[in-house]
Symmetry: D2
Subunit: 155 residues, 4 copies
């Protein structure tokens, strides 16, 4: 990470990093499309290899869980960075190294059908040890496919 | 599905089907290695594309969730088939079409490091509408990486 | 239950029944204050016997879980009754006898301090076997204390 | 808390305190019957006021959640105390003040019928910020009534 950047540029770099340098996110085509310290959005498009049920052409539940987990992790990370006293790249990197999912609950509401999928997250608990985010996933028609709740270790 | 097979052969076909014909399971290399109406086992080996954190070479949380969901779904399916009065391929197929994950909770205990990963499931609630399974994931050294609980729609 | 009542009157009777005839709800002072087939509200006031931590005068986590479970169960019941073809008291009673909580997740966001507590629920999945509700709990100042998600067996 | 006691005596005092001085535990009759840094046990007997469904004489789901939460909290507390470098009453007290439930999942397996109920917990993740416990509840006949998973803030 370039150490001469401003916090905003670092945040932009992070979105790029999450979408392009994390192998599993890249495999699934998960793209971080927006985020701030309260909300985030992750998008991906249908690919046949994401199918969990070939008879019905619906997403595998693990794909949904992965997208929700990423959306939650991104908003938690942004919130964590926001709270850093010194937003140096070293401090940001150190914080991100500590970030981890403790537990994730996914509620599947409807079969995962669609051309594009949008996972959104907002932070519901922000602390110096633990943060909690709630997530939703819709398809391009606005059909609500899933809910999620994730608890993350921070700091 | 060949309609002249015995129930046991059908079950064998199913394990093959889950491992080889479901695109996302195949992408992840998830293999159903054993199952009966009470327990199941799913194995997969490390691949770089399953990485969630390139700095630390650990599994993406979505991979863990996908493996636990499959292990739970397999034992629930086997249990459901066991309870069918007439185990014809048509009845089995019809039952499987109704099977779906309602909710899944994953507890991440340790970073997902290892060469091979073993997800096991056992059924804890078996009903004619809903079944619940508990899952665990270990690596090849026996380190306990994750717990899961899944609620499935059956019948 | 009086069998000569209209569906609306039956629903009113139910709210009264849940608040007054279920011993544990009565012990906690849980009162069903409104509900329809999409949302519900349960209220209760602080009592010293609901304390989980005497040093800090905060609600026991089990009280929060009980209030969220009731709010979720009420909206699921109302939704279930709405979907009955024949809303006779017998059919309603039979449906209610089948209703049960499969699983409940409670996320505690802040210490449970307050004079009055308001649990609200809305239905997020409505089916003929399983329904899912999301719940929230606030205090009289509007502080958000807890979130919940409940999966219920219906039909 | 008497400051001249040995750690073991403090632990004994704690069990007494949890069972007798926490108003809601006392109301429900929850008694901490054993615990060490890896497992715990909480028992309580049937009382009509714990009824959730008067037609079927079964426990309210909130009672089950409360018992599981206590069992989990007790084993997490014992584990936390075990890890303290200086087990002075002041340090123990300070640690206990930080302890809180972050989230709790309860899986209801069977209707809560019985004369006595036994909730047990074991620790599955032990850290300096967060601990996770898994719980089970049986009745006096050994029937398995519920499972639980709790994530706790420590330290």
């Amino acid at each position: 990470m370039d150490t001469h950047l401003q916090p905003e540029q670092i945040v932009k770099q992070l979105a790029h990093f999450w979408s392009n340098n994390l192998p599993f996110n890249k495999l699934l085509g998960l793209t971080v499309t927006k985020f701030d310290c309260a909300t985030s959005e992750v998008r991906f498009v249908w690919q046949n290899q994401l199918m969990g049920n070939p008879l019905q052409k619906i997403l595998h539940g693990g794909v949904t869980a992965a997208a929700l987990d990423l959306a939650g992790g991104v908003v938690v990370a942004a919130n964590m960075i926001e709270q850093l006293e010194h937003k140096s790249p070293e401090n940001i990197q150190q914080s991100l190294n500590c970030l981890g999912t403790i537990d994730l609950r996914t509620d599947y509401l409807r079969p995962g059908r669609g051309e594009e999928f949008i996972a959104t997250a907002h932070i519901i608990r922000s602390g110096n040890k633990v943060a909690v985010a709630r997530m939703e996933m819709h398809n391009e028609k606005g059909e609500h496919l899933a809910f999620g709740t994730g608890t993350y270790l921070v700091g």
